[in-house]
């Protein structure tokens, strides 16, 4: 594992054989190694999911294109969505959480290290299962095939009658298994954050990152479980002939939608909240100011968590719900905008009156703020039920959620990568390359996903493998696809930067950003035991207190 090979000279592992080192990683229960494995694993899947996205885009580059058959396109679309949500976004965020939470709360490891390793391997196994469907998908029916039911796997498309073979079963089991992994990780996060904080770290002195991961973990517990339940039902249907979603036997197709979105919507906040956490750590350091309105930030996050449990049916405005149900879900959906807005305003408040330093992490955070603002507002448009009757299942929706997921989550993740890379590897990345990555990806992102709104407004539905010329969609789709190549170039520069820096980057030192949270007080990379001596803190910014004895934070909190 790359980051280990450079960690070698620094740790007691020096001079051991590759096999031993690998073995070490496989059997490890160390939260840092597990974190890095999560991250690496997800990066691999990001590239795979990205390649699938590229195939989708190449097929749609011109009308009546014959690059891939409808069957292949539908598999690409399904695998892209499933991969990106369950095997890129979730694990990579768990990875950062795993690595950072114990360090930031001054603990030596997670509460249940073995459970932690178990969860990782479950998730990893899930991903392999999903991709094994390419080989085993149709089982005895001949050539293999991947699932093609879309990432919501709406009933009754998943019934045996419409989905023969085993591809849908692979999808179900893969998601189920990785779901158990996620629940295990969430239990671990909560136990760690509640029970393992170092002396003096009261709840209202916790770094926001710890707070937000706590809320995220809580959400995982109450949202992944419904999905697990629904998947179990689906398996009972497919294997034991149960009728949960069997419309022939009086079963309901709509109840699967409810179960899925009771998971699906909070899930998207499970993904965005850790990204809020990254931004809340990076912006203060590069503005040289403490986070603005810490208690409100915590409160707003908790509020988002609770409200997000009541909005799921905004994904179902078109299924013919009664008018007052549509009205209720319109209301709850828009209410989420309030706490989210509070966070945006507080981030701007943090920058206000500071001294902004535009290093790569800060650039990506500003990109995040800008894009998340737009994405949120298009979300509000979709939240207005009648507007959604037009926009729903159109490319406008695809544009909305890529704006949040790529423009929000991916940008925040890149910020996190550059911000903590020195701590994780002990080396400093190359700033020019990082800036190049930023601009390439920014241009590519906007070219692709700004334009993607328009075909939706012009009536282009999603999940279509081809379309008729002359509807005003043609040029747009061409440009959208062109943008992807800038994104690819950006990601390639990013990967190149990481590898180059691991190999040749200059020594970063313990605290390259002159930051304030505990992880920067130990060596880079941190030793197995994290801290030679368990720290004790008196404020939210222990290192600020150390660096500024003349006016420490704890005087004001």
């Amino acid at each position: 594992m790359a980051s280990d090979s450079i960690a070698l000279p620094r740790t007691e592992e020096a001079g051991r054989g590759l096999v031993e080192v690998l073995h070490d990683w496989v059997v490890t229960v160390d939260h840092k190694k597990l974190g890095l494995m999560y991250i690496l694993y997800s990066l691999v899947f990001l590239v795979i999911g990205g390649i699938e996205a590229t195939i989708i885009r190449l097929q749609l580059i011109v009308p009546h294109n014959h690059l891939v058959s409808p069957q292949v396109f539908n598999r690409m679309m399904t695998m892209h969505g499933t991969t990106m949500i369950f095997f890129v976004a979730m694990p990579i965020l768990f990875g950062f959480g795993n690595y950072l939470v114990p360090l930031m709360i001054g603990a030596r490891d997670m509460a249940f290290p073995r459970l932690n390793a178990f969860s990782f391997w479950l998730t990893a196994f899930g991903g392999l299962l999903l991709y094994f469907s390419f080989i085993g998908g149709t089982g005895l029916y001949g050539a293999g095939s991947a699932p093609d039911v879309g990432w919501w796997a709406y009933a009754p498309l998943t019934a045996r009658a419409f989905s023969k073979g085993h591809s849908t079963d692979f999808w179900t089991i893969a998601v189920l298994v990785s779901g158990f992994g996620s629940i295990g990780t969430a239990v671990n996060f909560i136990a760690t954050i509640i029970s393992m904080r170092c002396p003096g770290m009261t709840l209202n002195r916790m770094p926001l990152l710890a707070w937000l991961n706590l809320v995220m973990a809580g959400l995982v517990l109450v949202t992944i479980s419904p999905l697990t339940a629904a998947q179990i039902m689906l398996m009972l249907d497919r294997y034991l002939g149960a009728h949960f979603f069997d419309t022939q036997a009086g079963g309901s197709a709509a109840i699967w939608m409810h179960f899925f979105w009771i998971f699906g919507h909070p899930e998207v906040y499970v993904l965005i909240i850790p990204c809020f956490a990254f931004v809340s750590e990076v912006i203060p350091v590069f503005s040289r100011k403490p986070i603005f309105g810490y208690p409100v930030m915590v409160g707003a996050t908790v509020a988002i968590g609770f409200v997000s449990l009541s909005v799921w049916a905004h994904h179902m405005f078109t299924i013919g719900m009664v008018s007052y149900a549509n009205a209720f879900f319109t209301f709850s959906t828009m209410v989420v905008g309030i706490p989210t807005g509070i966070k945006i305003f507080n981030w701007i408040g943090t920058m206000w009156g500071g001294k902004l330093i535009f290093k790569a992490p800060m650039l990506f955070c500003i990109g995040f703020l800008f894009q998340f603002l737009i994405a949120g507002l298009t979300g509000i448009m979709l939240g207005a039920a009648p507007f959604d009757w037009q926009l729903g299942n159109s490319y406008f929706v695809v544009a909305h959620f890529h704006y949040v997921i790529v423009g929000g989550i991916l940008f925040a993740l890149f910020a996190a990568f550059y911000y903590w890379f020195p701590k994780m590897s002990g080396r400093m990345y190359s700033e020019p390359l990082a800036k190049l990555h930023f601009w390439l990806f920014l241009i590519g992102f906007h070219l692709t996903f700004d334009l993607m709104h328009i075909p939706g407004l012009l009536g282009m539905p999603r999940r279509i493998y081809t379309y008729e010329p002359g509807r005003g969609w043609d040029e747009l789709n061409l440009l959208i696809t062109v943008g992807v190549f800038f994104q690819i170039a950006g990601v390639l520069v990013f990967v190149g930067n990481l590898l180059w820096s691991l190999w040749k980057g200059r020594d970063a030192g313990n605290d390259p950003w002159d930051a304030w949270t505990l992880e920067w007080s130990t060596s880079s990379p941190p030793p197995e035991y994290n801290f030679a001596q368990i720290p004790a803190v008196r404020s939210r910014r222990p290192l600020w207190d150390l660096k500024h004895p003349e006016d420490p934070d704890w005087k004001y909190e």
Binding site: D148, A254, K355, T378, I380, F387, Q390, N393, L442, E475
Partner: protein, 343 residues
């Protein structure tokens, strides 16, 4: 950095501009949600402009704040390296940016609720035409119970002038998986879900052909489950109904083709009224020639396409549920000749 904001701004402007981008194609090809020609679509259009206005205003405000902060507070070259004043928060500000968005949300909600009610709870007038729409993989079945008409893929409705409205009320059902009925210029989409009855209505106030498409993923050929709505003048509509009500006309010149149709599996899946063919799995072919397209818009209804379709449906619509019957050439010609008499 400025360059960066330039690009970002450009991007957002592009997106904004897009909202009003017109379809470059001929008017018959429009499916732009900002060109409504029916009351529900119009209501939605008005609401969407309001929502766009509000969110646009929010964007401008927040975006300006962001740009101002980024430009004004960037670290200058002549910086003395000291830390800026450490500010921890401000309750009055927090209150402000909680309450104001709260009020905005309230306004947005009320405006939206009004439109939901206006569209969903509109009482059905006695003058309304009733159509039952049944979604199939991957085609549309249209039944006019009151008029005794059954057709496929191309919905005919009368124009409804605001003076004395004659809306069309659709009852939406599905024979297999989920589908969604979406003709942007006439109304938003509503799903067709097995084991569930949905409703929607349209009252187009202009004649012509309106394009739509299935908007809920329903399997392999979801992409080619296109939809056409023909809005006819009252007279045309009545003439159309008269024609569609008649059974298929007999024509001995093509009895050979007819025999092939009735001896091959065709009749298991297709109905031709007035003959023994009464299959329900595929579209009703009684008046096939009255339709401009084949296989729900997969191809224009020309001699060549019809022949190709019968010869090998995969060629026009890979994954469609109609099998190739591998007939020899003269059988095929005879069969097509017969089908072409189904006016």
């Amino acid at each position: 950095m400025f360059l960066g904001l330039g690009v970002m701004l450009a991007g957002s402007l592009l997106a904004a501009a897009g909202l009003y981008a017109d379809s470059s194609a001929s008017p018959r090809q429009v499916s732009n949600i900002f060109k409504p020609l029916s009351t529900p679509a119009g209501e939605i259009h008005r609401l969407s402009l309001f929502v766009l206005g509000v969110t646009g205003a929010i964007f401008v405000v927040v975006f300006s704040l962001l740009v101002y902060a980024v430009v004004k507070f960037r670290k200058r070259g002549d910086d003395d390296g000291s830390e800026p004043p450490q500010v921890y928060g401000s309750n009055s500000l927090e209150l402000a940016w909680t309450v104001i968005p709260g009020l905005i949300v309230l306004v947005l909600f009320l405006a939206t609720a009004r439109v939901i009610h206006a569209i969903q709870d509109a009482p059905q007038p006695p003058s309304a035409v009733e159509v039952t729409v049944i979604g199939h993989q991957f085609w549309w079945e249209f039944r006019y119970p009151a008029l005794g008409v059954v057709t496929a893929n191309e919905l005919h409705v009368p124009v409804s002038d605001p003076a004395h409205p004659r809306p069309t009320y659709l009852t939406l059902l599905s024979a297999d998986t989920d589908h969604s009925f979406w003709v942007p210029q006439l109304n938003g989409k509503t799903d067709l879900i097995p084991n569930r009855v949905n409703h929607m209505w349209i009252d187009p106030y202009q004649t012509g052909m309106f394009l739509g498409q299935c908007a809920q993923y329903c399997g392999t050929q979801h992409a080619k489950m296109l939809l056409r709505v023909y809005v006819d003048s009252p007279e045309e509509f009545d003439r159309w109904v008269e024609r569609e009500k008649k059974p298929a006309q007999m024509n001995d010149a093509v009895s050979a083709g007819r025999r092939i149709f009735e001896t091959t599996a065709c009749l298991n899946c297709h109905a031709v009224s007035g003959t023994v063919a009464n299959g329900l799995f595929g579209p009703d072919l009684t008046h096939l020639m009255s339709r401009e397209t084949l296989a729900s818009g997969a191809a224009l209804n020309t001699h060549a396409n019809l022949r190709l379709w019968i010869h090998d449906p995969e060629a026009l619509k890979p994954g469609s549920l109609m099998p190739a019957m591998n007939l020899n050439d003269q059988d095929l010609d005879a069969l097509v000749a017969y089908l072409e008499t189904l006016k």
